[in-house]
Amino acid sequence: MADRVLIVVPAWNEAASIGDVVREIRAELPAADVLVVDDGSRDGTADLAKAAGAIVSRLRYNLGVGGAMRLGYRYARNHGYDAVVQVDADGQHDPRYVPKLLDGLAEADIVIGARFAGEGGYTVRGPRRWAMVLLSRVLSRITGTRLTDTTSGFRATNRRATELFASWYPVEYLGDTVETLVYAARRGMKVRQVPVAMRRRVAGVPSHSPMKATVYLVRAAAILVLAAVRR
């Protein structure tokens, strides 16, 4: 396990869950620092996170997960952390898996906590499933390793990858997960995945609309094509 670890929690209007999420991370990982990046929330997310004991950085207006994460990576770089772990604010990522992700950094620059790698129950069907299959096939090829859950926001990066993401991290939807993997792999970063179980969200509901799923599929394809031709 790396020596100095920063847990970055991007949060946008997550008042319902952020307090518990921060407290749980701090209980499970007492040695790690927790940075909550409040992405322009209007529901007191920042205050709740601070009360729960997190370091809080507030963006004046909503940038999207990518903006919040780049801020987190910049913070980690400036303070010389050895590893950064992204944990979602909705409570679906179990902090007990963080050490497992960090262990993976021994042989990779980026470690993804993947839902479908044998652990935990999680099923999707239809266009959303096709999008996930498409993404994992293409990204597995590009990164040279088997990836099954490319859009997972449960990720650990070592110093090298943190440095890279501190200077470049896209804000576009899906860009923050998919495009970053392509970009990092192209620059010689090693990507690995470890199996994790995801939990039901503490707050909020996942979308199941077929229309949205189709839009998602189209966007996934578009972002792959863009990532492939972009420099």
């Binding site: 507030r58 801020l71 804000v171």
Partner: protein
């Protein structure tokens, strides 16, 4: 003749609006030059639409007016693309600033008194 008056007056009005915006410092020079250039080219064509008939014939376009429409369309398309590019750049710049500001504020909070 009446057509020439209609289009000519429109062109003149456009030029006046641009000059006035520029005079009030509401328009950056680089954009003003673009539109003044556009107005200066468009104005004579508005008054004498037959001016480009010769060139239109060479390009296989029926008449000068059609050529003007074609060029105007291309020009506006180019301006739109340019503006999209500018907006993308500006968004990236404001994003960097927003991140930097949040970062600085966090540093200050950590160093300064806790009640601040």
């Amino acid at each position: 003749m009446r057509l020439a008056i209609t289009t000519g007056v429109t062109g003149l009005l456009l030029l006046v609006v641009i000059l006035e915006l520029l005079r009030r410092r509401q328009l950056r020079e680089k954009y003003a030059m673009l539109w003044i250039g556009f107005a200066v080219v468009a104005l004579p064509l508005a008054i004498f639409p037959r001016l480009l008939d010769g060139l239109a014939g060479v390009l296989g376009i029926a008449n000068g007016a059609s050529l003007v429409f074609f060029l105007a369309f291309l020009f506006l398309l180019f301006v739109c693309i340019h503006l999209s590019w500018e907006v993308s750049r500006l968004e990236e710049e404001t994003r960097s600033l927003a991140e930097g500001l949040a970062l600085l504020k966090t540093e200050v909070d950590q160093r300064g008194p806790r009640d601040g």
